[in-house]
């Protein structure tokens, strides 16, 4: 091997990968980059204190049946994946917020421990996950009292902080988080007054419908929607009406449900502010990062996987794809250089 070729090879190997987000996608991508390109320096950046992302607040079972062949809870799944990461030299920067990324693959991050920090990366993997759709996106008319929050936020309040959000709760939308929260709230002694769904059937997976809603005899209103939110300081009641076939509410069927808390479980949106900042192409409909078969976005060197790319129903499927993403990042970093460019 000529000296130049050797040098080029070393440069290619000496990559530094910044992974943004230490949820399941980020951890598994890091693991498989390190497995397939051991000389790469891998840094995983997360704004929370703990790694594991959303898994830590998902204390219900149902994770890992496909990946590990046993039924685990969210925190157990996170612990299993981070234990696998411990076998490799992966740098974790927790309590660190990424402020920006750009086309030159620079990452600017901020942390109370280190202050501002800038990384020059060979590759960036976006594992920033998703957000829940909030009231603002739904255009529900009425007052703006306290007591209206997304189901995932209520999940964090209860499972992590031990704070019960209210005493009588209505849930709009029947996504999986909504169903799981209906059970959690019931178990914590909160009355769940209604699950209101605009469609003809509940959108949670059948196993969650049975274990969480049917088991606890929670009232379900299908083809109904909220027509008004009423409350001065705190939510007092909601008005609910049947939906006509053209999608409008039939006000002649309107009735009231008194509740002091309203949870929204009406879908997830990939969180891609950082990607947008760098000019990464996003899907107009889903807001997910558009990637090729190698999980690379429209900007060479910026990859995306997990819920930031598309919304997954099951963490096991997400892990499977994140593994592939990690492998292709490793292949990208170790690929021989042609005329100074990576192919």
């Amino acid at each position: 091997m000529s000296k130049k070729a050797q040098l080029l090879k070393r440069q290619a190997h000496k990559g530094h990968v910044s992974i943004i987000g230490a949820g399941p996608a980020g951890l598994i991508a890091a693991l498989h980059i390190k497995k397939n390109a051991p000389s790469t320096k891998v840094t995983v950046i997360d704004r929370e204190i703990f790694v594991g992302g959303i898994l830590n607040q998902c204390i219900h079972p149902g994770f890992g049946l496909l990946e590990f062949g046993q039924e685990l809870t969210g925190p157990e799944y996170a612990a299993k994946v981070s234990a696998l990461c411990r076998d490799f030299e992966i740098e974790f920067l927790t309590e660190t917020s990424v402020l920006s990324i750009n086309k030159k693959l620079e990452v600017v991050a901020l942390s109370p421990k280190y202050g501002a920090k800038k990384f020059q990366s060979k590759a960036i993997v976006l594992c920033t996950g998703c957000r829940e759709r909030s009231r603002g996106a739904l255009h529900i008319p009425g007052d703006r009292p306290s007591g209206i929050m997304t189901a995932g936020l209520a999940q964090k309040f209860i499972n992590i902080d031990g704070l019960v959000p209210g005493s009588r709760v209505a849930i709009l939308g029947s996504g999986d988080i909504g169903a799981i929260m209906a059970r959690r709230l019931t178990l914590q002694g909160v009355e769940v007054a209604a699950v209101i769904e605009i469609k003809k059937s509940l959108s949670a997976r059948p196993r969650n419908v049975i274990q969480c809603i049917v088991d606890f005899q929670i009232p379900i209103y299908l083809e109904h929607t909220i027509t008004k939110i009423v409350g001065r300081e705190r939510l007092e009641k909601i008005k609910v009406a049947k939906i006509l076939s053209d999608g409008r509410a039939d006000f002649s069927t309107e009735f009231e449900i008194s509740c002091d808390t309203l949870l929204l479980s009406v879908g997830l949106i990939p969180e891609n502010e950082l990607a947008e900042m760098a000019g990464v192409a996003l899907d107009a409909k889903s807001n997910g990062v558009i990637v090729d078969e190698k999980f690379m976005s429209s900007i060479p060197g910026i990859f995306a996987c997990g819920n930031a790319m598309k919304i997954y129903d099951l963490v096991d499927h997400l892990s499977e794809d994140s593994k592939k993403a990690g492998e292709s990042v490793a292949a990208y970093l170790t690929a021989p250089l042609v005329e100074g460019k990576q192919v």
């Binding site: 830590n56 079972p61 809870t73 612990a79 499972n159 178990l187 049975i210 274990q211």
Partner: protein
């Protein structure tokens, strides 16, 4: 009788035929033996894995997630949850640590599902401004 299997996310629809004495004649629709077991169990004695939280002192978070290490009778779940309200455990805790042995005589143990280290700072508690 029809069931939807809740063992895995595939959600197989299971059809159970009963004879005159309410004994199982045939089970169809399940794609694996777990489904057969689930249908038989669900007919005689519905049970679920129970997950909840207990108060944690001395850790970086306020609550510690727990679960029953085997499925418990469905009717007892609410009662079980109520009995955990009184409890408080101290950090550090490890996955698998037993919190309550043989809860309500079900032979199931309540075990910790998250590793939480001891923390020098006080547990974060919410302050509500007055």
């Amino acid at each position: 009788m029809n069931f939807i299997c809740i063992v895995c996310p595939k959600s197989c629809p299971i059809d159970v035929l009963l004879d005159e004495e309410n004994k199982i004649k045939s089970i169809s629709g399940a794609n694996c033996k777990n489904g057969l077991r689930y249908a038989t169990q669900e007919l005689s004695f519905p049970s679920r894995v129970f997950t909840s939280i207990v108060k944690l002192t001395g850790g970086q978070i306020a609550m510690c997630p727990v679960k029953s290490d085997q499925a418990v009778p469905r009717e007892l779940i609410l009662k079980m949850s109520r009995s955990l309200c009184q409890l408080s455990i101290a950090a550090p805790v490890k996955i698998g640590d037993i919190v309550v042995e043989n809860i309500l005589g079900t032979k199931a143990n309540i075990v910790v599902t998250r590793n939480i280290d001891k923390c020098k700072q006080q547990t974060k508690t919410a302050k509500i401004p007055r």
